[in-house]
Symmetry: D3
Subunit: 129 residues, 6 copies
Amino acid sequence: MTRLVEHADAPPEVRAVFDEIMAARGVADVNNFWKALALHPPTLRRTWDSLREVMAPGALDPLTKEMLYLAASAASGCAYCVASHTAAARAKGMTEAMHGELLAVIAMAAQTNRLAEALRVPVDPGFGE
Amino acid sequence: MTRLVEHADAPPEVRAVFDEIMAARGVADVNNFWKALALHPPTLRRTWDSLREVMAPGALDPLTKEMLYLAASAASGCAYCVASHTAAARAKGMTEAMHGELLAVIAMAAQTNRLAEALRVPVDPGFGE
Amino acid sequence: MTRLVEHADAPPEVRAVFDEIMAARGVADVNNFWKALALHPPTLRRTWDSLREVMAPGALDPLTKEMLYLAASAASGCAYCVASHTAAARAKGMTEAMHGELLAVIAMAAQTNRLAEALRVPVDPGFGE
Amino acid sequence: MTRLVEHADAPPEVRAVFDEIMAARGVADVNNFWKALALHPPTLRRTWDSLREVMAPGALDPLTKEMLYLAASAASGCAYCVASHTAAARAKGMTEAMHGELLAVIAMAAQTNRLAEALRVPVDPGFGE
Amino acid sequence: MTRLVEHADAPPEVRAVFDEIMAARGVADVNNFWKALALHPPTLRRTWDSLREVMAPGALDPLTKEMLYLAASAASGCAYCVASHTAAARAKGMTEAMHGELLAVIAMAAQTNRLAEALRVPVDPGFGE
Amino acid sequence: MTRLVEHADAPPEVRAVFDEIMAARGVADVNNFWKALALHPPTLRRTWDSLREVMAPGALDPLTKEMLYLAASAASGCAYCVASHTAAARAKGMTEAMHGELLAVIAMAAQTNRLAEALRVPVDPGFGE
C-alpha cells in the first residue's frame, strides 16, 4: 500500500493544493488519490491544475465530461479510477439507466476494437481528415 | 491485409446484414469493418444486432453515446475505431471544440489512470456501492 | 521504420540464430521480426530459444498453442503479431471456420473483461485456488 | 464494491436470465459477474445470449474455446476474468500441465508483442491476406 | 489522417507554443504531434507546459527520463511515441547497446507482468509501504 | 488466489531455482511471484534464467534497468509488478525524488501516448531508421 499523506502532516505546498481541492468541491477531506500523489508535490500541483482546467464547463457539460472520463478509465482498466469516476458521475446526475447504457457502449467498443485490430481492417478513405 | 467481402460477392446471410446497415444509415455501401467481419457471418450478424441495439437513443442521446464510444476506443488504442468513430461523432454533431475537449478528457484520464495504478491507491470508502 | 538486418550482412552470432530458424521452419529466409531483433543479438538469441521451447508440442498441440498465441496477441492489439500468428495458425491447420470462432471468442472476452472491470466484480469464493 | 443482485430480489427479466444460466450450467446460483450485470437488464440479456452462442461447440471444441477466452483475458489483464475462466477451463478438462503451457504461451506472446511494437516491425508481404 | 496545422497557418496562441518548442529544442519546425494537437489550443499549451516541466533535469538526468518515456510508450504500444522517443533518446546519447538492453527489459517486464496477472499473485507483505 | 509453492514442499527442479534466487539476492525466501510460477517448472526456470541475464549490469546500470522495468510495469497496469519493482528500485537506490520524477514521466507518456493515437499522428520522416 502506498503512503497516504494526511492534511495535518502535509508540507505547505501540498496543503495548499489540498485546500484548493476541498474548496472547489465543497468537501472536508481529499480523496486517497491526492493523498498518495503528495509523494511528489510538483506532480500533485500539475495534476490538480490540469484537472481543474480540463473538467471545467466548456463546449461539453460537466456530466458528459465525467462520463467520458469514466469510459476512458474503464477501457484502460483502472479499478480505482472506475470507482472514483463512477461516484463522481453519479454525483453530477448520472442515473442508473445512463450508467447501464454507458456500460453497454464500453462493452460494445471493447468488442469492435478487438475485432478491428484482429482483422487489421484498413481505414476507409471516407473517414476523411 | 485482411480480405474485404464486397456486397456483390457476399453470401445471402452476409448480404442481408449489409442491406440492413445501408438502410439504417442511409448509405450506399458499408464500411470496411463490416466487409472484413463477413469472414464469419454469425459474428457479423451478432455484432450488428448488438450495435444497433446499444447505440439506439435511450437515457443517453446518440451523440453522447458516440463520444463515449470514441473515448473508449481511444483509450484502448484502436486506430481504425478512432478513425471511424471520430467520423461518426462529427456526423452526429460533434464540433471541433467538443472534439478538443473530449481529447483533453481522454489525456487527463490516461494520466490519472496510470498514477493511480503506479501508486496503488486504495479505494476510498466514500465511493460507496 | 526500424533497420532490418539481412542474413548476408549479419554478424556470426545473428547468422547462427537465423540459420536455426530457417532450418527449424524449412524456410529460405526469416521474418522481419527476427531481422529487426538482430539489433540486439542477446535478445535475439534468448527470444528464439524461448520461443522454440514454448511452442514445442507438449500437453497442448502446436495448433492450439498457435491459436492461443494469436488470441493473446489480438487481445493486446499488436498488429504485426496478429498478422504473423494468423499466417502461422493457418499454416498449422486453422480453417476459416476456426478462425471465425476464435475471433468471436476474443470479441466476447473483450466485452466481458471490460464489464467485469467497470463493475469491479468481486471474485467468487467458488473459483477456488 | 458494485451492488450484486440476488435471484430473490431480481426483477422478472433478470430472473429469467439467471434461470437460463443456472439451467444451462446445472448450478444452483449464478456467478457474481451476472449479479453485477443485473444493473442493466438489457446488457445482461444481450451478454448472456451472445456468450451462449459464442461458446457453443462448433469448429472449435468447448475446452479450446475456454482456453482462448482465458488467454485473451490474461492478455488484457482482467483479474476477475482470469479467475473465472481458469476455473471454467479446469472444469472442462484443462490439466495443470496444459495450464502451465498456456501460461508459457501467454508470456511468450507478451514478450514478442512488445518487441514487435517497440521495433515497429513492418508486416512481411508473405503473411498474405 | 488528422489535420496538421503548419506554423504559417496557425492562430497566434498556437504559433506562440510552436515558437517556444522550436526555441527550446533549437529546431526549425515542430514535430507532427504538435501540429496535430493544434486542433485544440488549450490542450496544446497545457501539454507543452507539462512536458517542459516534467522533462527538465532534476533528480533524474534527461537521458534517463527519455528512456523511461520510451519504456512507458513501448509498454502501452503507441507506435508514434515509440518512433519519436527512440529518436529523442538517441539524440540524448542512447547507444545501440543501451537501446538493446532497454528493449530486453521491456520484453522481460511484459512477460512477468502477464504471468503475475494470470496467476493473480498476492502482493508480498515485505514490499512495504 | 493462486496456489503458492513453499520451498519445503517444492519438487527438486523448483527448489533448485528457488535456491539460485535466494543465493543471488541474499534473501531467506523467494517472493510470491516465484512461488506461484512453480505451477509450471519449465516456465519458472526459463523466466528466472532470462531475468538474471536481462537485469545483469551492462550498458545500463542496475538501477536504471530497475526503473525501466517499473515504468513498463506501471504503463501496463500490473499491480503486483508495480509493488515488487518499486521495492526493488528503492533497494537499489531510487530516492523519493527520483520516484516522483519517474511517476511524472509515466503520467506524461500516458497522456501523449493517448493523444498521438486519438489524433492518429503520422510518423515524422525525420525520426529516421
